[in-house]
Amino acid sequence: MKCTAAQHRFSELLDSRHESPASGDVRAHLAACPDCQKEFAALKHTLTALDALPAPTPGPRLRANFYALLAAEKNSAAKVPRGEHRRQRLTTWRWILAPLAACGLLVLGFLAGQRQASLPPQTARPAAEATRQELAELRQKVDRMGQLVGYSLQPQHSAGQRLQSIFATHTLQAPDPRVIAQLINALALDPSVNVRLAALETLYVYADQDTVRAGVLAALVREPNPLVQVSMIDFLAAARDPEAAQAFATISRDEQLDRAVRDAARRALVQL
């Protein structure tokens, strides 16, 4: 073994943690080479002195500050649910995007209404007078319910009242386009997470409708809360909406989003 090769491996001998079985060759060379012995002794002396340097100790301020920081973080974690910071950051954007989304949903509602209007009238079928009257009463009831839901979902009502309105739609026997539009509206714009989740839950019944899936997809890209985002992704995956694939792919790559949301998007892509 040459001196240069041996000296390159002195670090193995000088660090007991990393000594390898091949160090025997280096030791053999060292035993027979006075120049390398001198070099090795100098390095060993330097490292021994280095190891003997007194360890600097921090002042009490570091510990005090750390535990103050930990206490503050624990308080903050207890008060602020996950995703809250992000929601706060997005509040400004919500003010800008909300009117745009409202316009979009209005168009969706209009299209849904037109489609419904173009269907052949069910009441045109011959029926007994009593049945016709019963149908008319039912329609009036549904109309009133739709108006009631629309009215109660206005933001000036409390979140509890808005939730009750959504639960009331469960009693409707037939899908009413206005009620569905109101539910999509609540899903996209309501400030309460609970109301948005309840609206999404209610919309499951109408998941076979294109307008409903399009509304959920439009709301998903703006949704700031990870819990609602995951629920929306599950909704669209369960509805097997191919239009959502692009959004899922984008979400699954977005490092800014919560990991649970990205995982849900990946799972949904597999489902699609």
């Binding site: 002195a49 921090p58 990991r259």
Partner: protein
């Protein structure tokens, strides 16, 4: 009688990641002294080292969700420490120091005591001077390999280089330190 098995650093950090923030207290107690030692020797500034160590633990809390299940806690901690130190000195260069004079009593005077001046020829003082004269990259790899009990695999992960490159850098740093140290010894004996 069953004895409680102490949790590894990795297990504790995974617990922190899952929301058990108290586990970070145990990690602080285990590592803050060594981390402070690394920062002090690396920067030569005790005051800055306390601030940087504080920031390291602050970032552990802030970025706890990014801690990887297959990661090494110490490698992650020193990785954060290097970034925090770089950020600290970049900010310091950008503007004047802003400090409340009332806090000054909390800090030790970094300047050597008169007695230490008189003992400048002392071996440890010479070695400290030699260490301070090393290039930052050399000093860093030497401190990580000698004082922090890290494997070269962990050091290579912290320095973002191969294991072989980390070993070569450490060996080169020791040789340079030896040359500087012996040179200073010669100067003091002349």
């Amino acid at each position: 009688m069953a004895t409680a098995v102490p949790q590894t650093d990795h297990d504790l950090m995974l617990a922190v990641r899952e929301g058990e923030l108290d586990a970070l207290g145990e990690l602080f107690e285990r590592h803050h002294g060594r981390l402070y030692g690394y920062l002090t020797r690396s920067t030569g500034d005790r005051l800055a080292s306390e601030d940087i160590a504080q920031t390291v633990f602050q970032r552990m809390l802030k970025y706890r969700h990014t801690y990887r299940t297959d990661g090494s806690f110490t490698a992650w901690m020193y990785h954060l420490a290097r970034r925090c130190a770089a950020d600290y000195f970049r900010k310091k260069q950008a503007g004047p120091a802003n400090m409340d004079p009332a806090d000054l009593q909390d800090y030790a005077d970094d300047r050597p005591h008169a007695g230490e001046h008189a003992a400048a020829s002392d071996d440890q003082a010479l070695l400290q001077r030699a260490l301070n004269q090393l290039a930052h990259a050399d000093r860093e790899v030497l401190l990580l390999s000698r004082f922090q009990e890290l494997s070269f695999a962990e050091i290579s992960s912290i320095l973002e280089c191969s294991v072989g490159a980390a070993k070569v850098r450490a060996h080169r740093a020791v040789r340079t330190l030896r040359d500087l140290y012996f040179q200073l010894q010669k100067e003091t004996t002349v």
